[in-house]
């Protein structure tokens, strides 16, 4: 396999210059996820403004794939409507589970299309998904909390 399919320039870029890194206040829900096989960790917070995800802030440690993936996630989904964000989320999960057979839609996925190559490396799929799974968890908690408050 070609290494640069995996390490696309975009990924290395996000890895070296992560977007939106750091934990910020206020936030509606925060989660901590771990990848037990490799020890990668992420702490992730979402802030809601009505139906909109007003911020995604995060901190963690891990490989280039997991760090770049969190940076792309921040860039792509901050400021989006919850429903929209979940649709993009679903498209990303499908891409990652596709073993390299799924053709990504750049309209939907933006920079995240760069992760298409990762799907061919089963051992790395979990790295790419770490922050995305954390996001889903955090959004679900935030929405549930909001409903309780109403």
């Amino acid at each position: 396999m070609q290494l640069d399919q995996l390490y696309q320039e975009i990924i290395l870029d996000h890895y070296k210059r992560p977007q939106g890194r750091g934990l910020r206040e206020p936030f509606a829900a925060g989660v901590h996820h771990v990848n037990p096989t490799c020890g990668d960790e992420i702490t992730l917070r979402v802030a809601l403004d009505g139906e909109t995800i007003s911020d995604i802030s995060y901190d963690g440690q891990g490989c280039s794939i997991s760090q770049a993936s969190a940076s792309v996630l921040h860039e792509l989904l901050s400021g989006r409507k919850v429903d929209d964000a979940l649709a993009v989320h679903a498209a990303f999960v499908e891409l990652m589970g596709g073993k390299g057979q799924v053709v990504p839609d750049e309209e939907v996925l933006g920079d995240a299309v760069a992760f298409a190559g990762v799907a061919k490396y089963p051992a790395r799929v979990k790295c790419a998904l770490l922050s995305w799974m954390a996001l889903k968890d955090a959004v679900a908690q935030a929405v549930a909390l909001e409903k309780e408050e109403v």
């Binding site: 771990v34 037990p36 096989t37 020890g39 089963p122 051992a123 790395r124």
Partner: protein, 430 residues
């Protein structure tokens, strides 16, 4: 010898799935060997099955081409090994109709699987279904293999719970006459054998399941003898756990399976602790991965799982319906044939219905060891002794039994060789 007659209106012989036994035999290298100057007649498949070339080769190929540890590496060999190992899990899940691959736990044998479930019970279990103490009851039966007796006896010793059991009828079936009293509100789990490794009995579980559900207990089936021989669907059976073992179904030694409903596995505490079953480890305490990883501490039997996957491919290619029908025809033939041997008494059902291809018997007062020894001198391999099921011997007041057990590679000629051998036995000990 009479043939089985099927009443009109029922599916007839010709409707039954069949395969070519000779072609199957050609896949098993060991069947070409001789024993004591006679062609091998292997009638001990209930003890362990023989292995087809396809399984032997799959294991060798794994070591020669892909070998690495699983779930721990990003390198290519590690990825290939992980895919082979998890691929085997998926094959097992499909083979038994498991709703999710995560419900398939690899163990070293059926015995470990049974112990694993027994160890989930205790006085401090978080989930009330696994909380066990004095006054609580566990139900097994008198036809269990030691591996489905001793773990529960040890559990009762640890917790003060009470072990109870189904008795057996004269013809070797479960005595369900006291079902409602035996399985009651105090019952936490009923764990019974699906097919007896001694009597051959296949237990009909519907009434027991209904009662188990009524009282809110759990149900485990020891399928060590049934999964190799009969189509199995864990959802259809409506059970909570099943255990079985690779080496009896054409696969390598060193691998077994626990299947459990995901919802139950995930509330069970870990059993063996170590690598791969953890979420995170600190010196001051650890958290654990979800099932199946939680129950697979340490390096698992990787090559053996790959071999089990190859065995399942083999059985699927022949077809489990065809295997089951082959067993039934052979059993009918053998029951008839053994009936012609003077002084032979069969223990277990004497009709080829509700039973598998395993027949245990005594011959006059000749000790089974002597029966087995004379048969061995003629190349015929049968098992003798208590078959890891002493309570059955006690129930029928026999010190030991001789057992012939068949599989997809067994022929009627081999049954004839057994019958001829038994004549010889009677001559030696006349």
């Amino acid at each position: 010898m009479t043939a089985l007659t099927i009443p009109a209106g029922m599916p007839q012989y010709d409707d039954k799935p069949r395969f070519d036994v000779e072609r199957v035999r050609a896949d098993f290298p060991i069947l070409g060997r001789e024993v004591n100057g006679h062609p091998l007649v292997y009638l001990d498949s209930g003890n362990t099955s023989q292995k087809p070339r396809q399984v032997i080769d799959a294991v060798a190929r794994y070591y020669a081409e892909h070998n690495a540890n699983v779930a721990r590496s990003v390198h290519t060999l590690g990825t290939e090994s992980t895919e082979a190992y998890e691929g085997a899990r998926a094959k097992v899940a499909a083979f038994i109709g498991a709703p999710s691959v995560d419900e398939v736990v690899f163990t070293k044998n059926a015995t470990e699987a049974l112990n694993l479930v027994a160890h989930a019970f205790g006085p401090h279990a978080q989930d009330p279904r696994f909380r066990l103490g004095p006054g609580d009851e566990i139900v097994i039966s008198e036809m269990e293999h030691h591996s489905n007796i001793v773990p529960w006896q040890l559990l009762c010793q640890r917790t003060g719970a009470t072990l109870r059991w189904f008795g057996l009828t004269e013809s070797g079936r479960l005595d369900e006459s006291n079902l409602d009293e035996l399985v009651n509100e105090r019952t936490k789990i009923v764990s019974i054998v699906h097919m007896s490794n001694v009597l051959g009995t296949v237990n009909a579980t519907a009434r027991i399941t209904a009662r188990v559900r009524e009282v809110g207990a759990l149900l485990m089936l020891d399928c060590s003898q049934s999964v190799p021989h009969l189509p199995m669907d864990v959802v259809d059976y409506d059970v909570d756990f099943i255990a079985f073992t690779g080496h009896k179904m054409l696969a390598p030694t060193g691998i077994g399976v626990l299947w459990g409903r995901g919802e139950l596995l995930n509330v069970m505490p870990p059993f063996l602790g170590g690598g791969s079953m953890i979420e995170t480890v600190k010196m001051t305490g650890s958290t654990f991965a979800p099932a199946p990883a939680r129950f697979e501490a340490g390096t698992p039997p990787i090559a053996q799982a790959v071999g089990l996957g190859a065995a399942i491919d083999y059985l699927n290619a022949v077809g489990m319906d065809a295997v089951a029908w082959h067993d039934k025809e052979l059993t009918a033939y053998a029951l008839d044939a053994l009936d012609t041997v003077p002084g032979l008494r069969i223990y277990g059902p004497r009709v080829p219905v509700g039973r598998g291809a395993t027949i245990s018997f005594t011959l006059d007062k000749i000790h089974p060891h002597d029966v087995g020894q004379v048969l061995d001198s003629l190349g015929v391999q049968v098992r003798v002794g208590h078959h890891c099921a002493k309570p059955i011997c006690d129930r029928f007041s026999v010190p030991a039994l001789t057992r012939a057990s068949f599989y997809l590679y067994t022929t009627t000629d081999e049954v004839d060789a057994l019958v001829r051998g038994l004549d010889q036995v009677r001559k030696v000990f006349a």
